[in-house]
Amino acid sequence: MDNLLQFQSVSKSYGSRKALNDVSFSIGPGKIIGLLGTNGSGKSTLMKITAGLLPVYSGSVTVAGQPLDLNTKSIVSFMPDRPLTESWMKVRDAITFYSDFYSDFDMAKALQMLDFMNLNPKDRISSLSKGMNERLQLTLALSRNAKLYLLDEPIGGVDPVARTKILDAIVEFYSEDSSLIISTHLVKDIERIFDEVIFIKNGDLVLHEEVEELRLKHGKSVDDMFKEVFAE
């Protein structure tokens, strides 16, 4: 099966600080992958490189066999740690913005997700709470029929109710032909939906394994393994 995402010897530095160090891995289609690591381990950097937001790095990255360019932007849907919306927008403006620029945007799915997330199209984005804003960002990212979804800390900083709602939405609206990478350090809340996990520690990839294999081989849950690997 062809790889959907391939990293080959990718390194990235911010000044003297290494964010990624010779990272190589590949991901096939139809998987939900947990990208796990502590704060500052390099998860966001890896996602931003894949999304095309960080053009300066060494090594090679391909999405669906293509090097990162304009075409890969149209098949990768990224929910970053910063809002994808602009302060002047209402919820409906954000939906129209996405619909105008992404040919794979599914308006019916977006409206269904807005309803599921209890979001009102007439609401100003600047008046949304953090939890509601996270729901909107997720709606925008998942309403596209992309090949690869990247969700950077989708449940970080939201209350347990919003967290459950967001996880339910991911499972409900995620297209099974695509792959989805979710970065988080809140492993316990989310590990139930992962097919594979990638552990990143100080910019190094320290583990990439299927969740079932990890449980069989080590006899531990993802959360236990996470605590073991990242213990200080």
Partner: protein, 253 residues
Amino acid sequence: MMRLLKYDWKKNSTMLLSTAVILILAEVGLTTASYTRGWEEGITIGLSIMLYVFTSMLAVIMTYRTFFSNAKSYSRRLLPVRTVWSVLSPMVLGSLVLIGLGILICIHIGVFSLIYGVPDLKDISTEVTSQLLKVTAIFVFQVFWAYLFSYMAIALSIAIALMFQRGRVWIGILSFIVIQNVISWIISSLFEVSFGGIPFLNVKLQSNLMVGGEVVFPDNIMIINWGETLLEAVFIVLMLYATVLLLNRRVEA
């Protein structure tokens, strides 16, 4: 680019429309006060011009700010749209706003003429009208040209500044000064620059234009230096290319 333009307009529409309303109210107030209190025409014209210049400066600054915020914004950087259109979209928006301002000025001149009889639009002969149109066209072209150059120089300066994590403001200012001076020096050393040596105002004024009295337009009142204009066009394209290259290869969101 039309879709980008649509969202650049939406992003700035509240500010632009409110500024337009304030400008119209201020100009109406000024003209009314001037008429009812019998102010001198020169004072009214001077104050009106100041308001228009101030508004056009606001519009131009809006385009720079829009470019800057778009260059940093995730929502724009992630779009599957060629970077060149993202660079040009705020510039086109600014041009449209300046055109709108120009239309407003024309309407104001018409209203002023009806109230004060100056300029006397009925008495302007066909010959004078054709010269007036020529002078106006050259003036509009010069304003657009200077705006286009300044926009590209500032866009490139912003792109250079965004390559760095620290000291962006100072790097941007320094870049703009260097770009401006290097290009001005090259143009000045190759061409005889008019208007006190300011490039991008590349016309020669052949005669003084009188305001308020009898207007006499000699032939060739203004001549565009096309060689200089062509070189400037090359610099504008080079700055656009460099800006796109930096945004694609060096600037990180």
